[in-house]
């Protein structure tokens, strides 16, 4: 189902004069991959938090299909949206198989804990993403790239139609960025909707994604990356810090698009 955001406004401090999200309206189509671009502080993370219900908009509405998001309870919402935060609070001493099983929470009653059948599902998903060798390790024992894959695996185990990721590649080296982006590309083939924020416009081009360009809490532009990611367009947000690689006096290294 589509997500409709209508005239969203939000600020963290009630007394503040400026809105972090300012009269934001947008429709996100089912089964699309969407990349949120914009400067630090442009409201990307806040918008993602509004979508997941972690924050409530002071004005405007978010609709999932024909339902208002505020009317959907926490448990039911977790069956629609899964969220991979930029800085997950998960501590290093948690066993990875235990962490992945947390993705099953919304299928269990309050008094239940995951059973053997749930751990089989965890293992199957881990096999799909080639992380079975990590299952018996603790979060603190794996690399940053592996950790990001584990967080995405947990979101996939949650098995929601919409996956929201906040800067999933921000702390990764170029190889692992490629691994994560390729994984997202694979997920999109399953008909899931993906929304993620990034600081790299090339990611949107790499994924042939829909771009949502934000500036000071407002929607600056939206459309297919191939049309929208143009120097003159991005300069409106990023200023003169941006240029085409062919205008550089050196050859830029980038992702290989398979």
């Amino acid at each position: 189902m589509n997500i409709k955001m209508r005239n969203l406004s939000f600020k963290y401090n009630y007394r503040s004069n400026t809105d972090i999200i300012d009269d934001f309206s947008l429709v996100i189509e089912k089964g699309t991959i969407n990349v949120l671009l914009g400067l630090n502080g442009s409201g990307k993370t806040t918008l993602l938090k509004l979508l997941t219900g972690l924050e409530k908009p002071q004005k405007g509405t978010i609709q999932y299909g024909d339902k208002n998001l505020e009317e959907i309870g926490i448990k039911d919402r977790s069956k629609i949206f899964s969220y991979v935060p930029q800085h997950s609070n998960v501590t290093g001493d948690i066993l990875i198989s235990d962490y992945l099983s947390f993705g099953m929470t919304n299928r269990l009653e309050f008094y239940q804990s995951p059973k053997e059948e749930h751990f089989i599902l965890v293992r199957q998903m881990a096999e799909r993403l080639s992380v079975t060798h990590l299952l018996d390790k603790k979060i603190g024992e794996i690399s940053g790239g592996e950790r990001q894959i584990i967080l995405i695996t947990s979101a996939l185990i949650q098995n929601t139609p919409i996956i929201i990721l906040d800067e999933p590649t921000s702390s990764l080296d170029i190889k692992n960025q490629n691994v994560v982006l390729s994984l997202l590309k694979e997920i999109i083939n399953e008909g899931k909707t993906i929304i993620f924020s990034s600081h790299n416009p090339n990611h949107a081009l790499f994924l042939d994604a829909n771009v949502i360009l934000m500036h000071e809490g407002q929607l600056k532009a939206t459309g297919p990356s191939i049309e929208l990611i143009r120097v003159e367009r991005l300069k409106e947000v990023y200023g003169d810090a941006i240029c085409l690689s062919e205008d550089l006096d050196y050859k830029e290294i980038s992702f290989k698009n398979n």
Binding site: I74, K75, S82, P85, G103, T105, N106, Y111, S113
Partner: protein, 333 residues
């Protein structure tokens, strides 16, 4: 790893039962195993003295030690997980400080032991309530504000206690207040034990039913809520249960330090960070540890040692030896 951690629970339950039985036999009046069985399982009048020592003295205080150890350990674990801080002990939000003020007011007023317990319990709860209300005033749902508020209110209660002590009669009431603050199971009564069993039993049943979910609360609001947990509800529920457990534990036996801090650490070092495993083990380890401390406090000297002095000494030795044996895993903790 999984099989290893599954073994700890049955082993620790067996050990607690054995320690409990020994606690009934050991003391300034030692009872041999055959005398113990004769006095408990027969009606032989030759064992009336032993029977009376076991039933009226050692049985209630050992039961109380077991229950208080369980309550304080599990409450410490819950606080450490919920506030994501391993240096936190159950009196974090001011429950012990409030309970001390309550008890000392009752002592100064010359009231009986039942009233002392009631004052201590009620003021412990009121103090935590004040902490939560102050945190709410900031309109900030973060745990940091709640912790800060707890520190402020605890500090205030400590000052109130200092005033009460300053004006208390050094010969009688001041000594009683100081003694209360160090804890003892000497005056344990079966009526108090029944109340403890009821409150701790209900709290533990609720906790065991949600034990797995506490893992998610420990991840913080973002992770918990997006995985389908009503974080605010569960956090409040856990705080209420922990506060109740601490308040009911300290109101009958006085302040007992260390247990709530040390036992959760020991348990986590043994089985890792999963509340489904750590909560049951905190109950057995905490209960067993407290019975051992009680045996030591009443056996080796003519007058009883305060329980907090013993828990501190034994706790340090046990903690350091476990830290030492598990030093390789420490980096992850």
């Amino acid at each position: 790893m999984k099989t290893k951690s599954a073994i700890y629970l049955p082993i620790s339950i067996t050990v607690v039962i054995i320690i409990f039985a020994f606690a009934l036999m050991i003391g300034r009046y030692p009872i041999t195993i055959s005398d113990f069985f004769n006095s408990i399982f027969t009606n032989n009048n030759n064992y009336n003295v032993q029977r009376s020592i076991i039933v009226t003295l050692r049985w209630p205080r050992t039961l109380m030690a077991l229950l208080v150890g369980m309550g304080l350990s599990v409450s410490g674990l819950l606080y450490q997980e919920t506030f994501r801080n391993k240096l936190v002990s159950p009196d974090l939000l001011g429950v012990s400080a409030g309970a001390s003020v309550g008890a000392s007011i009752a002592i100064v007023l010359g009231l009986g032991s039942v009233i002392i317990s009631m004052f201590s319990f009620v003021l412990g709860l009121i103090t935590v309530f004040i902490t939560v209300v102050i945190a709410k005033l900031f309109k900030d749902g973060s745990s940091t504000i709640l912790l800060l508020s707890g520190v402020i209110v605890s500090g205030f209660m400590s000052s109130v206690l200092a005033f009460i002590k300053y004006f208390a009669d050094p010969e009688t009431t001041l000594a009683s207040i100081t003694y209360w603050e160090m804890g003892t199971f000497q005056r344990a009564l079966m009526n108090e034990v029944y109340i403890l069993i009821t409150v701790i039993g209900v709290c533990v049943l609720v906790l065991l039913s949600i034990s797995w979910r506490i893992n998610l609360v420990a991840l913080g609001r973002e992770d918990a809520q997006t995985k389908g947990i009503n974080y605010n509800f569960y956090r409040l529920l856990i705080i209420v249960i922990s506060t109740l457990l601490t308040a009911i534990s300290v109101c009958f036996c006085g302040k007992v330090s260390w247990v709530g801090l040390v036992i959760p650490h020991i348990v986590r070092l043994l089985v890792g960070r999963n509340t489904k495993k750590t909560i049951p083990l905190c109950l057995t380890f905490g209960g067993g540890f407290m019975i051992i401390c009680d045996i030591i406090s009443r056996t080796f000297t003519d007058s009883e040692l305060p329980i907090s002095a013993v828990t501190g000494l034994i706790g340090t030795v046990v903690f350091i030896s476990i830290l030492f044996s598990k030093r390789r895993e420490l980096n992850e903790h």
